[in-house]
């Protein structure tokens, strides 16, 4: 198993390199001049050349890529074209904020998903199952950016119960896990939690149903074994897959919150990314996507490792 773990760790390196190549190329398949965002409307050709050299856009592509990776490895992701601030700092702040949101959405979505999925799987083909399944499939099918807008209208504008946008009165820097700040988190987190809730519920329902329909479980029942024993068996067998699905979902929450962050003006990576796209701030776009993708790779790795450890059935060599 140790050999597997090691191999799995080493394997991250080529993937990370591939990921950075894609991030780098993304920007260079982009049409239009990356410097438009900073250039004054009536800049001279001379000014343009000056700016181009300042941002390194005058060098050939492979050289740019080499420089970019070498710098990225030391934590330097270049400077934002639109703000001139170092990209790394901006991205890390934003990743922190997105993590807060993703964590909150997970805390809402995963337990609910597990509960619903378990109940539905346990009482398969009953009314309870159908109700829960309907709820889960609704969660998977609803365009959450639309749901977010509806929630703002209802809970912020009409009822005035919860703030409509932002990460608290002082911005994300003053973030704290207190009631005042948590109020700001409720709407975006609930909106974001809907999809993972549905997915986890659907997966767990299928898992639990399958385990319960296995012959030996039926045999346990027949022998009149206590429900507790069956339950323990179910949980133990469903846990690895459920964990894997939740891990993946956490990753998707990190990258998938862009629409929600736009709707709620949440200062996370999604918000940063949409700014980067519309201001054509290419270094910022590159940096943000790279950090998110690497985060996702790390989460996948952790899930994989955790699964190997807790699931004795998986023999990886």
């Amino acid at each position: 198993m140790l050999a597997y773990l090691l191999r799995r760790l080493v394997y991250v390196v080529p993937v990370a390199l591939g990921v950075s190549l894609i991030c780098f190329m993304l920007v260079h398949i982009a049409p239009g001049d990356p410097l438009v965002a900073v250039m004054p409307l009536d800049a001279t050709a001379e000014q343009e050349a000056e700016m181009r050299a300042a941002y390194g856009f005058d060098k050939p592509l492979p050289v740019q890529f080499g420089l970019w990776v070498a710098k990225a490895a030391t934590g330097d992701l270049g400077r934002s074209i639109a703000t001139g601030r170092p990209v790394a700092g901006e991205v890390m702040t934003a990743v922190g904020n997105t993590l807060v949101l993703a964590a909150a959405a997970s805390l809402i979505g995963f337990p609910l998903g597990l509960l619903f999925g378990f109940v539905a799987g346990y009482f398969r083909d009953t009314g309870v199952d159908r109700a829960v399944t309907a709820l889960a499939i609704t969660g998977v099918s609803v365009p959450n950016y639309w749901l977010g807008m509806v929630l703002v209208i209802v809970f912020s504008v009409t009822l005035g119960w919860l703030p409509a946008m932002g990460a608290g009165p002082g911005g994300s820097r003053d973030w704290g896990w207190d009631a005042e700040h948590l109020r700001y988190l409720v709407l975006p987190a609930v909106t974001l939690a809907v999809v993972p809730m549905g997915i986890v519920a659907r997966t767990v329902r299928a898992l639990v149903g399958d385990i319960l329909s296995q012959e030996f479980v039926q045999a346990l029942y027949a022998k009149g074994l206590m429900h507790g024993g069956v339950l323990r068996h179910v949980v133990r067998n469903a846990a690895p897959t459920a964990l894997a699905v939740m891990g993946l979902q956490l990753g998707y929450l990190l990258g998938g919150s862009i629409l929600i962050e736009t709707v709620f003006n949440w200062p996370g990576t999604g918000f940063l990314l949409s700014n980067a796209i519309f201001q054509r701030d290419l270094p910022l776009l590159q940096g943000t996507i790279l950090v998110l993708a690497l985060f996702f790779v790390a989460v996948n790795l952790l899930v994989d490792l955790a699964q190997t450890v807790i699931d004795p059935r998986i023999k990886r060599t």
Binding site: V157, A164, S172
Partner: protein, 534 residues
Amino acid sequence: MGIGRLRTAFAAAVLAGTALAAPALAAGTLRIGMTASDIPLTTGQTDNGGEGMRFIGYTLYDALINWDLTSADKPSGLIPGLATEWKVDEADKTKWTFKIREGVKFHDGSAFTAEAAVWNLDKLLDDKSPQYDPRQAAQGKSRIPAVASYKALDKYTLEIVTKEPDATLPYQLAWILMSSPANWEALGKSWEAVAKKPSGTGPWMLADFVPRERADLVPFKDHWDQTRVPRLDKMVLVPLPEPNARSAALLSGQVDWIEAPAPDVIPALTGAGHQIVSNALPHNWTWHLSRLEGSPWNDIRIRKAANLAIDREGMKELLGGLMLPAKGFFTPGSQWFGEPTFAVKYDPEAAKALLAEAGYGPDKRLKVKALISPSGSGQMLPLPMNEFIQQNLAEVGIDVEFEVVEWNTMINIWRAGAGHESAKGTKSINFSYFIQDPFTGLIRHLACDLKPPNGTNWGHYCDPEMDALFKEIRTTFDAAAQDEVMRRTHEKFVDEALFLMVTHDVAPRAMSTKVKGFVQAQNWYQNFGSITMD
């Protein structure tokens, strides 16, 4: 610039100001939702266009020559800022001297002098100087094309030499904001450090700053003009680029003021007891026409016909009343409007007649391609507005085919000109213009020597008569006489229907009724000093 007149105006302003400043009470915090997606550059010369100058530029900083932002009723003009007076040398019309205001302090306590002004010009123009900042230069350099050289004659006298005689220099200098050299030194000569702790001479100081989320401004009590010292305790700027998030923030009480509310949200805002404030703005939303060989817009009858075909009142309805229908290139109340003979109005019958005269009719409809963008700063609501124009023009017999390009691409095409292949044979570009001074208002659009790639005369227009007028503007140093030339030039703009003149923005802003004392000047910039909160 008539210095005598300015002095009087200034004295009057001081007198009026002392009367106003007397009941300076502590008056709370004002929170503003901006449309920019980030806090504009704080080091001096701001980015984010007009909004940057409005909220970070003219708040934290002053220019040598400022815009007068005290009146809502008349177009604003230039007033003394960090320079108390200026004049051009009678013998050598390229040589200007500026008397620097004495006793002006930066927020960090250092004094503003002629040397500081030179230091700031070097910051933008001299890439060998240690304080040269490419970011600020990118924003400021192109604003002062006339400047050739400058030096401090003594502590309070600045001399600027222009490349050729240019009477528009004061307008150019109104762009240039002065940051503190001592502060930059103290912060390790790093503009990045200055961004967090900037120091200007303006009536507001930056107290706190979270990039992309918030900037806190507090009053600078030692400002040289006590009338401009803010009565608020604090002003908080929040970037809220998404229009619905901006409206929701005001409706749920998270901010007190939002810039540019979407027209459809306005009934909900007023319904919830908020006030909508707007005023004429030196802004122009137009179709800049191609004048290259083969463009139908070379025919004055077609240009006039198109101008007569637009139902501007109908468009106003689309925008919830928040636009000022164009009567010319400048806003109707502008000091430079003059008395054009061609009336820009809605008269489809006259338009059809003109088109018939030009050889077009129901069986021979005019077909023309037009460049538009789905969004963009100053573009208002470009898609519905252009679709509206498309319908209007179709009614008189002009069939418009749109070429829709993304805003940044459109800026590139605007720079490249109508003849460039990227323009794809379009005969007009829908662009919105900042028209606050002679250069941005008139000269840059139609001067022969500013044809692309040298400038932004997109349509390659060239008329010696027009160039003579531009030259006269640049060489008329008496303000009143210069205004007179401006009026004559504008009359030519309108009478020859050189643009499709559609509308002016009115810079709507929505605010809670708690906001008191705001006077919206007819300017891109505003004064926040007079505001109080209930």
